[in-house]
């Protein structure tokens, strides 16, 4: 039973994996040149590969991989491929331990999971082919899974611990495969550390999943129903996507805090992430202050690119929100449809029972069965609607908020530079005045001041230029990622729709002869 559960969990996780594997190649620029020289690597025609070779502003290479490591990587790659064994039973990675306390989410979600492990094979095939393609041409670096949500403690102090498993070939990590247990506040802590370090210099740091007091309280209280199971599953998937996005970012990947998060078994509790803590309140105050400042800063945009991009992101934000709302309505209605179909199935069964013509009675019972199966299909489809489509849109809405934040920081940077210039001007005026007043003692001070502020102005200008440059790169990277993400996810969603239709056909084809046989 336990192995079944883990199996199905991995089935759920696998389809997402290959995205990471595919995208990993962004990280390595220099190896591309070595690859190009190697005779055995046909460059697959996939888009990102071309990007790497042509993109001059690509991320700084993480490590230059020596050639012998490349062998290891390929070995790793083939190992990866063999893990997805032909029997399509996902093999457990050696590190993942047996599940300790079976949490309700897995058992409750199991029916869906098992069904999805039926649906997963279609995606498996593709991922295996692509992995093979990848293995030939590119290097795999970091693969992250978040799994096994486990409730630790009880009462209001309880929390969910998630297992974060990393598989990597990068030498900056101590091992190739390792896993740790983390709780939600740890993730928030990681995000806040990365944010403080990187946002103000222009990097788009992926936002962490949102807190949910209601959801968590239900879980803490121990309410073992499907909605809390759903909540945990939703959160687990969101955390996984969050980490995957973060490690895809070449600069963030090198951050020691991230490494510590992924590797070290003990992590200092991030208390600053609590909403009601002192730090939390400080954050809220800062946010409010920022909002006010944003309104007062009037920036002379010398670069039309930025203005254009900001406008684009505004539009995109609006559109995504609208689409998100529509998809959420769809999820809701499909769930309704599923419930109504189930009710009808029962009713049809009753009708079949009371019908005294035997053949018709049998046909009606069959109809009831078909409708029941269709209800199952609807449920699965609703889940897919949600987890694949709706969540992606939600993620991107938050990501765009992060992008907007980065733009705002650039504005602040500009403001700082301008302020420095103003002060420099004042200092110069002061110095000129002193010269006229002929006060040599203060003049030296003034001259020093001027020097100081000149450097500050220069620094400010340099910072601003740097931020602008970084933002340009980041936005381009973001756009690339966005295009890829959307394409992959939408294709996956359509494939799931295809499967639903195929199942529908199967069910109705089974029913048709029954209906025809009514004498």
């Amino acid at each position: 039973m336990a192995s079944e559960r883990e199996l199905s969990l991995l089935a759920d996780v696998r389809p997402v994996d290959f995205e990471v594997l595919e995208d990993g190649k962004n990280v390595f620029v220099s190896p591309v040149s070595t690859l190009e020289s190697s005779p055995s690597s046909p460059e697959p025609a996939s888009l990102p590969a071309e990007d790497l070779s042509t993109n001059s502003n690509g991320p700084k290479p993480a490590e230059v991989m020596p050639d012998d490591d490349r062998e290891d990587l390929f070995a790793e790659a083939t190992e990866e491929v063999s893990l997805d064994s032909p029997e399509r039973d996902p093999v457990l990675p050696p590190e993942s331990p047996p599940v300790i306390t079976p949490v309700t989410p897995t058992t409750l979600v199991a029916p869906r999971m098992e069904l999805r492990s039926v649906t997963a094979p279609v995606i498996f095939d593709r991922s295996r082919e692509e992995i093979e393609e990848e293995a030939n041409g590119h290097l795999l670096d970091v693969e992250i899974n978040v799994s096994d949500p486990e409730k630790v403690g009880d009462g209001m102090n309880a929390y969910m611990a998630y297992r974060v498993t990393t598989k990597t070939s990068l030498s900056m990590f101590h091992k190739n495969e390792f896993s740790v247990k983390r709780r939600f506040s740890d993730f928030l802590g990681l995000h806040s550390k990365l944010a403080t370090k990187y946002i103000h210099i222009g990097y788009i740091v992926p936002p962490a999943p949102e807190k949910s007091i209601v959801g968590m309280t239900k879980v803490k209280v121990g309410k073992e129903d499907s909605s809390s199971a759903e909540f945990v599953e939703k959160r687990r998937a969101a955390l996984e996507r969050y980490l995957q996005r973060t490690v895809k970012h070449p600069t963030l990947l090198q951050d020691p805090d991230l490494r510590q998060f992924l590797e070290s078994s003990e992590l200092p509790r991030a208390v600053n992430t609590q909403a009601l803590s002192g730090a939390g309140i400080l954050r809220m105050v800062n946010k409010a202050a920022d909002a006010v400042n944003k309104m007062t800063i009037k920036m002379n945009e010398s670069d039309a690119w930025f203005e254009e991009k900001q406008q684009q992101f505004e539009n995109l934000d609006q559109q995504l929100r609208k689409l998100h709302a529509s998809v959420e309505t769809l999820v809701c209605h499909r769930k309704e449809l599923s419930a109504n179909t189930a009710a009808f199935a029962k009713s049809a069964a009753m009708l079949g029972n009371s019908e005294d013509h035997t053949a018709l009675s049998r046909a009606l019972s069959q109809l009831a069965e078909v409708e029941e199966k269709i209800d199952q299909l609807h449920q699965e489809q609703a889940f897919a609607d949600f987890s694949v489509f709706s969540e992606l849109l939600g993620d991107y809405i938050r990501l765009i908020a992060a992008v907007k934040g980065v733009f705002d920081h650039r504005m602040k940077c500009w403001q700082k530079w301008q302020d420095a210039q103003v002060i420099l001007q004042k200092k110069r005026e002061a110095e000129a005045k002193l010269q006229l007043a002929n006060r040599p003692d203060k003049q030296q001070q003034a001259k020093d001041d001027i020097k100081e502020w000149e450097t500050k102005v220069q620094q400010g200008e340099k910072d601003f230029e740097q931020v602008s440059k970084t933002i340009r790169e980041e936005v381009q990277r973001f756009e690339r990622e966005r295009v890829k993400d959307f394409k992959t996810v939408i294709i996956k969603y359509l494939e799931l729709l295809v499967q639903t239709q195929q199942q529908l056909i199967k069910h109705w084809e089974a029913f048709l002869p029954e209906a025809k046989s009514i004498a």
Partner: protein
């Protein structure tokens, strides 16, 4: 629904040639289903499907009735009833009259009140045409015109118009089925009122029941159902009827439940289809505004959603037609069958009472002749009803089984057709998208 949108241009062409945006239903001027005069293959097949509720129709040359045209005005619907007959009772061989819903009800009630027809299942009256919901929606759409894009507005308008048209067609079909059933019934087709209904080309001056009459009806129904309870307590000597009674009561309740649930299910389906519409529009907007190469992608997916939506809407409409309508119809028919059984039980009770009265009279030796005649009459009545009732109930079963069979088979076939269509759409879209990437 597809047929609705196909008929869209026809629907609008009679009026509103000037006003482009005005919603046809709301403006002055009736909307006409004039295309009914020349049914296309698709539309006539729809009529056939509706007639499937009663399978044994209209191959009878002696009397053929149909509704050839219908006009929907603000608060009433005018049906053109067209008759073709070789019977001598009629002055001509082919003729048409215009009738309204109230006149159908009058005809139905005249059958019910006719003692001679007590032993037959009276075909259930068609439900009143009800466009209120649809009109409301169209009105709301008109009000909300400013808040959505032009494409969305046009799409939704088309949809609502299709819905209106579908409801319209359904009500026409229900009225037609009623007439056809009467025409097919060996006894009822000879009814004088029926002939008047078909032939008399003036207004029948049948007004709808006023409040007093409606109240009277209400009380009559209450008395009838109370009586029904009493009468049903009497155990029937005849096994056949006893069995039929138990069966019908249970069946009627379950059909009612199934019909309600089926309705909910089809409505949910329609909601999902509507959502696809909105998603398609959003994707379209995303596609047109995006600057990267994903815009083509979005546009293709938006197109897919639009097409899928049409299919989903058709699925919903077909389910509604094959399943919900079927169940609703048999709900009404089983009620009519129950009414027949009630009438028979009533006459049985009367007969038994007459017997008792006769015995009493004989014992007292008073009014014996009168009691005897009463008893004779009751006996005859009871036997007449029993005889025809048996045949009617057997026919009912045959009809029911045939109708269910036809509809279930067609339902399955249509579901398959739509699922396959959907599948093909999805697969071809995927092929294009994968090819691009």
């Amino acid at each position: 629904m597809m047929e609705g949108s196909d008929d869209g241009p026809d629907f609008l062409s009679e009026e509103d040639r000037g006003a482009a945006e005005a919603l046809p239903v709301m403006t002055a001027g009736p909307s006409r289903c004039s295309h009914l005069k020349k049914p296309s293959r698709e539309r006539s097949s729809r009529w056939d499907m509706l007639r499937a509720i009663n399978v044994d129709l209209q191959t009878d040359a002696a009397l053929q009735v149909d509704i050839s045209d219908a006009l929907s005005e603000r608060d009433k619907v005018k049906f053109t009833v067209h008759t073709k007959s070789s019977l001598p009772n009629f002055k001509q061989n082919e003729f048409s009259v215009v009738r309204q819903h109230e006149e159908f009800i009058w005809l139905h009630d005249s059958f019910v009140e006719n003692e001679d027809y007590a032993g037959y299942i009276i075909p259930p009256a068609p439900p009143r045409p009800d466009f209120d919901a649809s009109r409301e929606k169209l009105q709301k759409l008109g009000e909300g015109e400013g808040s959505m894009t032009k494409e969305e507005f046009t799409k939704m308008k088309q949809e609502l118009e299709a819905e209106y048209l579908a409801i319209f067609k359904k009500t026409v079909a229900m009225h037609e089925v009623f007439l056809c059933r009467v025409a097919a019934h060996p006894i009822l087709r000879k009814d004088l009122n029926f002939h008047v209904f078909l032939e008399y080309n003036q207004d029948l001056s049948v007004r709808g029941k006023n409040k007093k009459e409606k109240l009277e009806d209400f009380f009559k129904n209450m008395v009838k159902s109370a009586d029904g309870v009493i009468v049903s307590g009497v155990k029937d000597v005849d096994d056949f009827f006893e069995h039929e009674r138990t069966f019908l009561v249970e069946y009627h309740n379950r059909v009612k439940d199934a019909s309600a649930k089926s309705d909910k299910m089809t409505r949910s389906h329609k909601n999902v289809a509507d959502d696809y519409n909105r998603i398609g529009s959003s994707l379209y907007a995303l596609g047109t505004q995006d600057s990267t190469d994903i815009c083509k992608f979005f546009l293709k997916v938006s197109e897919l959603f639009d097409k899928t939506r049409k299919i989903e809407a058709r699925v919903s409409a077909d389910e509604d037609l094959k399943l919900s309508d079927l169940l609703k119809y048999y709900l009404r028919e089983s009620q009519a069958a129950k009414d027949l059984l009630y009438r028979r039980s009533r006459s049985l009770v009367d007969y038994e009472n007459a017997n008792k009265a006769l015995d009493k009279a004989r014992a007292k030796n008073k009014d014996v002749l009168q009691a005897e005649t009463t008893q004779q009459i009751c006996c005859q009545k009871f036997e007449k009803i029993s005889e025809s009732a048996k045949q009617e109930l057997i026919d009912f079963k045959t009809r029911r089984v045939a109708a269910f069979r036809k509809n279930l088979v067609e339902l399955a076939e249509l579901e398959l057709k739509h699922a396959k269509g959907n599948l093909q759409l999805l697969q071809s879209c995927l092929a294009v998208l994968n090819g691009d990437t």
